[in-house]
């Protein structure tokens, strides 16, 4: 009865972080999972084997992490440092420093750069191949209108979402100024931005249960396709309770995407057909981060309180690895209803 965990949530990873999970990402080459947390640690799991393969401890809470390759990764830390970790040797070094806590980072396979966004209202590009030391690794600093909250990359495009609902779109090959300066089409604070895998646009979520689907192409035809939809809300007797949408992750094969909100629910959407494909059972607490594995067969779900209501007792922070059925993520052909008579 209670001894058996609910199978609908997926397999729970053992040795999960002791404090809020800030992000998790699957490797591009294996089922390894990198997890950053407020408990000042970065952990590397083998998700399919449910094994904790390594742990790094930093000077402060780790707000983001990403893989470099199978054997190394980068972290964004609240102590303003950007670090590189080498998993095999348990070695870490400091790639460079911001003037404020580093909120998010991405590694660009196209340019071999690490891009970090910080609350010091700057974006910095780093070359991890340079010898350790800021003067050799720092490629550039780009001032943003506000504190950077979320980053996403596709090909050479970089989307930066900041406080104050700014969205800057950059071309990594010319970072001198944004290719596009936009304002979020959502009215509330941006939580997460993720580019479409096909590189045509990005999805942006806000604290107010809503996700906007945007397109880079500024032509009328392309912009006509953009839309926003509501999600992660609870409707009770005609009343809505709206939850922040913390996480978006795209399926690597079908380009459908999953969203996770503070309601502890993970939804899978088909952006092209404007359909919800699946809703997973409610997780114990807010969904802090989501990641599909490289083949899209696994979905890592961080069920971890995201401090949306301040300091308060909450469910333990856990990572669930769920196997993804094709039905849950495969776009269904659009059904056209009979034209109105």
């Amino acid at each position: 009865m209670t001894a058996v965990p609910a199978p609908t949530l997926g397999r729970e990873l053992s040795n999960s972080p002791l404090d809020g999970i800030t992000n998790l990402r699957f490797s591009n080459t294996s089922d390894h999972l990198l997890v950053s947390s407020w408990d000042k640690s970065v952990r590397l799991y083998d998700a399919s084997a449910n094994v904790l393969k390594g742990e790094f401890r930093h000077g402060g809470a780790v707000l983001d992490c990403c893989f470099h390759d199978e054997s190394s990764g980068f972290t964004a830390c609240i102590d303003s440092n950007v670090r590189r970790m080498v998993f095999n040797y348990g070695k870490e070094d400091i790639l460079g420093r911001h003037d404020g806590p580093v909120r998010c980072l991405e590694y660009s396979y196209a340019t071999g750069q690490v891009i970090t966004g910080s609350w010091d209202k700057t974006l910095k590009c780093w070359d991890p191949r340079g010898a350790s030391g800021q003067e050799r690794t720092l490629l550039g600093t780009y001032t943003q209108p506000e504190r950077v909250y979320s980053l996403s990359l596709v090909g050479h495009r970089l989307v930066v979402a900041t406080a104050g609902r700014h969205v800057n779109v950059y071309d990594l090959r010319n970072m001198s100024q944004p290719e596009q300066r936009r304002e979020s089409s959502l009215k509330y604070q941006t939580r997460c931005v993720r580019c479409y895998p096909n590189g045509t646009g990005y999805a942006l979520s806000s604290v107010e249960g809503r996700v906007a689907m945007e397109f880079f192409d500024l032509s009328e035809a392309s912009q006509a396709k953009k839309y926003a939809f509501k999600c992660h809300r609870k409707s009770e007797a005609g009343r809505d309770i709206v939850y922040p949408v913390n996480a978006i992750t795209f399926h690597p094969i079908y380009a459908t995407f999953a969203t996770g909100g503070c309601d502890g629910i993970v939804n899978v959407w088909d952006g092209n057909n404007k359909k919800r494909l699946y809703q997973y059972a409610k997780y114990p607490t807010s969904i802090a981060a989501l990641s599909f594995s490289r083949d899209g067969r696994l979905l890592a779900v961080a069920s971890s309180y995201t401090f949306e209501e301040g300091d308060k007792p909450h469910e333990p922070d856990t990572i669930f690895i769920r196997s993804v059925n094709e039905v849950e993520v495969k776009p269904k052909p659009k059904v056209y209803p009979n034209p109105p008579a």
């Binding site: 406080a163 104050g164 509330y188 604070q189 107010e208 308060k312 209803p337």
Partner: protein
């Protein structure tokens, strides 16, 4: 007379006679006495005789000398002949033939001369042969070999001897050629060895004897050379054997490693020719360079690479096996031994404390053990599985039974009905199941003398717990029934008193949910708002009023504008938009007051956003959002876009969301129900759901304000800065100047 005259003797005789006559005359004249005469005559005769004797002696001596010479010559000839091994054929013949000694001597001397010439010739031959022999034997025996007499043996110059010598020479020459052949063979061997071992042949040979560098003819064939050749061959062979063993060892390990790791053929290919020699004997291994140090080093490197790979693979293998074991344990609901945790294993392997292969063996042993055990556990586990499923269904059914809306027709309702039906049948079977399970488990335990553990918990205790729980539930049910009865009584009494009869059902449900639900504050709120008689909820129902009043007071000006701007999705008419207004205002208020939990709760009832996707909503929503975004430069295109959106799939787009919405709501309902099953609801969850929307309601304040002209908000600048959850948590504060600049 002529004769006499011719004959000196006769002449002498005549002369003598005449002389005697003359003498006689003289004597006669002188008248020598007869005696004197006789005496004189005797004397004369004696003198003559003397002279004769002398001459004869002389002649005799001469003859003897001649004879001697002949004899000597003959002897010499004979000796020469004998030394030459030839019979002195013509000597006797000549003796017979020759009349005089002098003739004989002449012949003999001639023969002698001839023989001597032949002898000389022979000697020359001998010396030549000897010289050759000498040379060959020196070649063979080396300069230090014994010295053969260089002098020709004068005593034996016979052809036999010559032939003998020639034979000897022949033999020697044969030996020499044999040796040469041998040397060549050895050199060939050496060459092949060198090539196999990857050594420089010339250099090796030079070390043995420098003349090997020259042509074949000049090769040294002495014993020493042979010996040193042989020894170096032996040495190299030894080296070869040694290296070969090394190589074979390496290739054996390599083969093993390949086998072990299923190396791909491409990886094996470059070393295939090595491994094919694993069982080769020393002679069979002849490929040049096969045993060179470089090559062996190469192979060694490969082996060490494989070793390395193996150690990592081994680790992987161990870990794989280990996880297999764990998976198995999980499937069998066994608790694996903790001392062999995977991290511990990894560490141990890395530190070298544990040999992976032995570990592997151990893990495999364990797996085998568990496999064995699985047979015995299988039956019971199946039963446990069934029982657990039944329990689940039972709890679901219970929960389902509490749902008043369960008979409402909805999507999938028929399925749920069917499930309930099945569940009921299953629940009926539960007691039987439990007893059977207990019997089986006890039998198992008795048989084995150990407890049957299920995920580390004794199965029997689990079952016991369950039965206890069942009993408890039963009690509860009875108690409730009684209470209900009592209530019914009370109500009838009330009815008798006041004439109206409050629905007992409603009351009941409210109570039930509040008792059962652990997470859904919504349910609770709903129920509480519907039945105000429940005391605890009074507080909540009051909240909206206070907010309403707050709204009514100072912010009526901006509010209206905000309302218009902010009316994102709200198309459902006045009341809800009113509520929204209230929300926005309250939001500002709350911010000003630096919010706390209490305040938070108050917002809940102010629905911040109307139901998601009502039939008309998406359109209106979009339009509204345009209005909202008017202030941005994107104004014109967006408007167009949205209008388009509005026009085109009027039918399709809105309908679909409605469907999803419906589904969503049912899902939500279900999810809200599930927690009820949990016997002891976690106490902390209720407030969480309640206060959550507050957070979202709060954030809108900023953009809203951006929409309004911000003049009257100046004094609130300190609180203007929006913060993400993370920033709040980190206590991150934006420096004041920045904040101002940004606003």
């Amino acid at each position: 007379m002529l004769n006499i005259q011719n004959d000196p003797h006769l002449q002498v005789e005549t002369t003598c006679g005449s002389l005697l006559y003359e003498l006689q005359i003289i004597w006669d004249e002188v008248g020598e006495s007869e005696t004197d005469r006789d005496k004189m005559l005797l004397q004369l005769e004696q003198e003559c005789l003397e002279l004769y004797r002398k001459k004869v002696d002389q002649a005799n001596r001469c003859r003897a000398q001649l004879r001697q010479t002949i004899a000597d010559s003959e002897a010499e000839l004979a000796s020469i002949c004998s030394t030459m091994g030839e019979r002195p054929l013509n000597s006797r013949q000549s003796k017979q033939k020759a009349g005089s000694l002098k003739e004989e001597l002449r012949i003999i001397l001639m023969q002698l001369e001839q023989m001597q010439m032949r002898k000389l010739e022979r000697k020359k031959q001998f010396s030549e042969i000897l010289e050759q022999i000498q040379k060959v034997s020196t070649e063979i025996r080396g300069s230090t070999g014994y010295n053969l007499t260089k002098e020709v043996d004068e005593t034996d110059l016979s052809t036999r001897k010559l032939a003998e010598l020639q034979l000897q020479l022949q033999a020697l020459q044969n030996e020499k050629s044999d040796r040469l052949k041998q040397v060549m063979q050895l050199l060939n061997n050496l060459k092949s060895l060198c090539s196999v071992l990857g050594l420089d042949f010339k250099q090796t040979v030079n070390e043995i004897h420098p003349n090997f560098a020259g042509s074949e003819e000049t090769y040294s064939i002495s014993d020493d050379t042979l010996q040193s050749l042989e020894s170096s061959i032996k040495r190299l062979r030894g080296l070869k054997v040694q290296k070969m063993q090394r190589l074979q060892d390496l290739s054996t390990t390599m083969l093993e490693l390949w086998n072990l790791m299923d190396s791909p053929v491409e990886e094996q290919q470059p070393f295939q020719h090595v491994t094919c020699n694993v069982a080769a004997s020393e002679d069979e291994l002849n490929t040049p360079g096969m045993l060179s140090s470089d090559f062996i080093k190469n192979v060694e490197a490969e082996v060490s690479r494989l070793e390395h790979l193996k150690s990592s693979k081994m680790k992987e293998l161990v870990l794989k096996k280990r996880s297999e074991l764990e998976e198995m344990c999980r499937r069998l609901h066994l608790v694996p031994e903790t001392d062999s945790e995977i991290e511990y294993l990894t560490e141990a392997i890395e530190s070298g404390a544990l040999d992976p292969s032995s570990l592997l063996e151990q893990v495999e042993l364990e797996i085998a053990k568990i496999k064995e055990e699985s047979f015995s556990r299988k039956e019971i586990l199946d039963r446990v599985e069934k029982w657990l499923y039944a329990c689940e269904e039972e709890s679901w059914l219970e929960e389902y039974n509490m749902d008043e809306n369960r008979y409402n027709a909805g999507r999938g309702a028929h399925l749920i009905l069917k499930r309930a039906e099945k569940a009921r049948a299953l629940v009926n079977k539960l007691p039987g199941m439990v007893t059977a399970l207990v019997a089986k488990a006890t039998a198992w335990e008795n048989e084995r003398g150990i407890e049957f553990m299920y995920d580390g918990i004794p199965l029997l205790s689990m079952v016991e717990e369950y039965t206890l729980l069942c009993q408890e539930k039963e009690h509860e049910r009875i108690r409730q029934r009684e209470q209900k009865k009592l209530q019914g009584q009370l109500m009838t009494e009330q009815e008798a008193l006041f004439g109206s009869k409050p629905s007992p059902l409603k009351l009941q449900s409210g109570k039930k949910t509040s008792r059962m639900s652990n997470g859904s504050g919504i349910n609770r709120r709903q129920s509480s708002s519907s039945s105000s008689s429940v005391g605890g909820t009074m507080l909540q129902t009051q909240r909206p009023d206070s907010v309403q009043s707050a709204r009514a007071t100072p912010y009526s000006g901006p509010k209206k504008k905000g309302d218009q701007n902010d009316d994102l999705d709200d198309d459902s008419g006045a009341p809800s938009s009113n509520v929204r207004k209230g929300l926005d205002l309250a939001d500002i208020l709350v911010r000003a007051n630096s919010f706390n939990g209490h305040e938070a709760e108050s917002h809940i009832i102010r629905r911040p956003f109307s139901p998601v996707f009502s039939q008309r909503s998406p359109r209106v929503n979009i339009e509204n959002s345009i209005e909202n975004q008017n202030r941005s430069y994107k104004d014109v295109p967006e408007k167009k876009i949205f209008l388009k959106n509005d026009l085109s799939p009027k039918t399709t787009a809105p309908i679909e969301p409605t469907i999803t919405l419906l589904k969503a709501t049912t899902d939500v309902d279900e999810e809200n129900m599930t927690p009820k099953v949990v016997p002891i609801p976690p106490p902390l969850t209720t407030p969480s759901t309640v206060s959550r929307p507050m957070e979202t309601a709060m954030t809108p304040a900023l953009p809203l304000r951006g929409g309004i002209n911000g003049g009257d908000l100046e004094e609130e600048i300190e609180e203007e800065v929006e913060y993400s959850f993370e920033e709040k948590r980190a206590g991150f504060v934006v420096p004041n100047t920045n904040a101002k600049r940004y606003l």
